[in-house]
């Protein structure tokens, strides 16, 4: 009986209602999740106010104090100044997306315009395959190979000793985190930008060539210009992945709630940090302690709200660029 119902030809009215129901379920789920996370996180924000986002004290000591709160709900400890974690998140994300964007744009131009057909036939599927590698594999390579190499060969003992009373340098560092994160997010960006460059109308490219511009100039002044909204979209998607990346960063970024200091010169890149998502993974064991769980939910809420603003920001950034873009 159900089969008869499903195989009957679908009227538009029926399709509309069915799809509408599915879409509403998804929307309701997302809305419920946002409300749930915010409600769980509220005590942590309420107790700290705006200072939650500020610095001061050691964030790991604060987390430990929250975890060891007394049993009496009136005496729960909530004091937290999460700046090092927020800063670590922003630092790893923006450095990786910045570097990745340059690589991805150049690689996409190569694949679309300059690569010999044979190289293209290999490059494209490989790039798309790379985009799907689980992050834990990158984390393993990072911890087994890169962290060890950086710790043994790139950081001298003098450098380690110079900051020993502030932070220890062991190879797990901002540098390794950013390098692996860049490798992780670049393939997605390449795939999106390649598609965009391909969709540039042939006539525009040929027109430019007819005027005497060479392929590089045409690519740079016509195709890339036209593809800018797609490049923004690629950056937004990559930023979202970088923001939410937890396992890999928890493995290689150093596991200390420390804010790397740019004034330290080259040492800055060797200093450890721990982004929000990695902090959630590292501390998920303690969720049962109520104030600690609420603090973890507060981290999640910040990530959730930032990704919301990220989508809005991406949309806003695309609007002026659309004037020259391909209309689809």
């Amino acid at each position: 009986m159900a089969r008869a119902g499903l195989t009957r030809p679908w009227t538009d009215r029926r399709a509309e209602r069915t799809l509408g129901a599915v879409a509403s379920i998804v929307l309701i789920l997302i809305a419920t999740m946002v409300v749930f996370v915010l409600a769980k996180a509220w005590p942590s924000f309420a107790h700290n106010g705006l200072r939650w986002f500020g610095g001061g004290g050691n964030v790991d000591d604060q987390l430990k104090a929250i975890f060891n709160s007394p049993a009496d709900p009136n005496k729960y400890i909530y004091t937290l100044h999460a700046w090092p974690l927020l800063y670590g998140t922003a630092l790893t994300t923006f450095l990786a997306v910045g570097a990745g964007l340059v690589f991805a744009t150049l690689a996409a131009i190569f694949i679309v315009e300059f690569a010999p057909p044979r190289a293209r036939a290999v490059l494209e599927p490989v790039v798309r395959l790379l985009a799907a590698v689980p992050s834990v594999i990158y984390g393993l390579i990072g911890i087994l190979v890169l962290v060890k190499f950086v710790g043994e060969h790139l950081i001298s003992e003098g450098r380690k000793a110079s900051v020993i009373y502030v932070i220890q340098l062991s190879g797990s560092s901002l540098l390794v985190a950013v390098v692996i994160l860049t490798v992780m997010i670049t393939p997605i960006m390449i795939a999106i930008i390649v598609d965009a460059l391909r969709s540039v109308p042939r006539g525009w490219v040929e027109g430019s060539a007819a005027l005497g511009a060479n392929r590089w100039r045409t690519m740079w002044t016509i195709s890339v210009r036209v593809a800018r909204p797609a490049i923004v979209a690629a950056a937004v998607l990559a930023t979202a992945r970088a923001l939410g990346e937890a396992i890999m960063l928890s493995m290689v970024s150093g596991s200390v709630g420390f804010a790397p200091n740019p004034l330290d010169g080259l040492t800055f890149f060797f200093e450890p940090t721990r982004p929000l998502a990695a902090t959630i993974v590292d501390n998920a064991e303690g969720l049962s302690v109520k104030p600690f769980g609420q603090t973890i939910y507060a981290f999640a809420a910040v990530l959730l709200v930032s990704s919301l603003f990220l989508s809005l920001g991406g949309w806003a950034a695309k609007q002026p660029l659309k004037r020259y873009a391909v209309r689809t």
Binding site: A2, G5, L6, D61, F67, S69, K148, S172, F258
Partner: protein
């Protein structure tokens, strides 16, 4: 009547997914466990051994999940499992009404990179190193490494961290510059990969690293069993109120039966 069928089908499937499959028939008692990753291998072995006894065959079933001591304690307090496994002692912030049943003991070893064959540490040395007072290996007698010390410790929610603090550090504070890892394996890996590192792990995880003697006693199973080694902690099976029924029998068996003690003694320290 046919119009709204598909949405209805989706809704029903969602409801079924959330409600879950009803429990198995009542004749077979099911003991569910969750919690500490350190206790899990022992719990699995014990469950297997328990099922080998003839009178238990077909009478009892086990389901074992992992997730950390605090997960186990939270699960059992909420009634989601019969037994919560914990590698840390009871805390004042734990929910009321829980009973911590001891099942075994485990040693915590101090480990260094294999290239640094540090022989022995005293309590004072451990505290100085982990609190950040001693920052260079050249200040530690017996160490073959030189240069700054890298500390590798566990996150706040770890049972091993809790035990290390109580047994070794007392009221001293672990340096906040120390790298905090989320599991025994990650600490082991970090120490393996860094010539200047020192960390602490459960006795199970000393492969490929140098286990340092503590107060002149080597960290191994024999010394932990004999009670000579100082860094020993408890493994617990936590129940909500005193254990009843199948769970009570199981825990009683672990604590008293000679066969159970033999299973514990393969890699851990029996209670007696």
């Amino acid at each position: 009547m046919h119009r709204m069928r598909l949405p209805a089908v989706i809704l029903i499937s969602l409801v079924v997914l959330t409600v879950g499959v009803p429990a198995a028939s009542a004749k077979v008692a099911t003991i569910t466990m969750s919690g500490s990753t350190s206790v899990a291998p022992l719990a699995a072995k014990l469950a297997k051994g328990y099922l080998k006894i003839k009178k238990n065959k077909g009478k009892v079933r086990f389901k074992l999940a992992q997730g950390g001591s605090d997960v186990g304690v939270a699960d059992v307090a909420a009634g989601r499992v019969t037994i919560g496994n914990s590698s840390r002692d009871a805390k004042p912030s734990d929910p009321g009404g829980l009973v911590f049943n001891p099942i075994a003991k485990d040693a915590i070893c101090l480990i260094t990179n294999p290239s640094n064959n540090l022989g022995n540490l005293t309590l004072q040395q451990v505290q100085d190193i982990f609190s950040g007072k001693t920052v260079s290996w050249s200040d530690v007698p017996g160490a073959s490494a030189s240069g700054p010390i890298s500390l590798v410790v566990r996150t706040a929610a770890s049972g091993t961290q809790d035990a290390f603090q109580k047994i070794f550090m007392g009221s001293a504070k672990v340096a906040s510059s120390a790298a905090q890892k989320a599991s025994n394996g990650l600490v082991q890996q970090a120490v393996k990969g860094d010539r200047n590192a020192i960390g602490y792990v459960s006795l199970d995880f000393v492969g490929g690293v140098n286990a340092v003697s503590y107060r002149g006693v080597a960290c191994n199973l024999r010394n932990a069993k004999s009670g000579e080694y100082g860094g020993v902690r408890n493994f617990w099976m936590v129940t909500r109120g005193a254990a009843v029924g199948a769970a009570a029998k199981f825990i009683k068996w672990i604590q008293t039966a000679a066969a159970a003690q033999r299973i514990v003694a393969t890699d851990w320290v029996p209670l007696r």
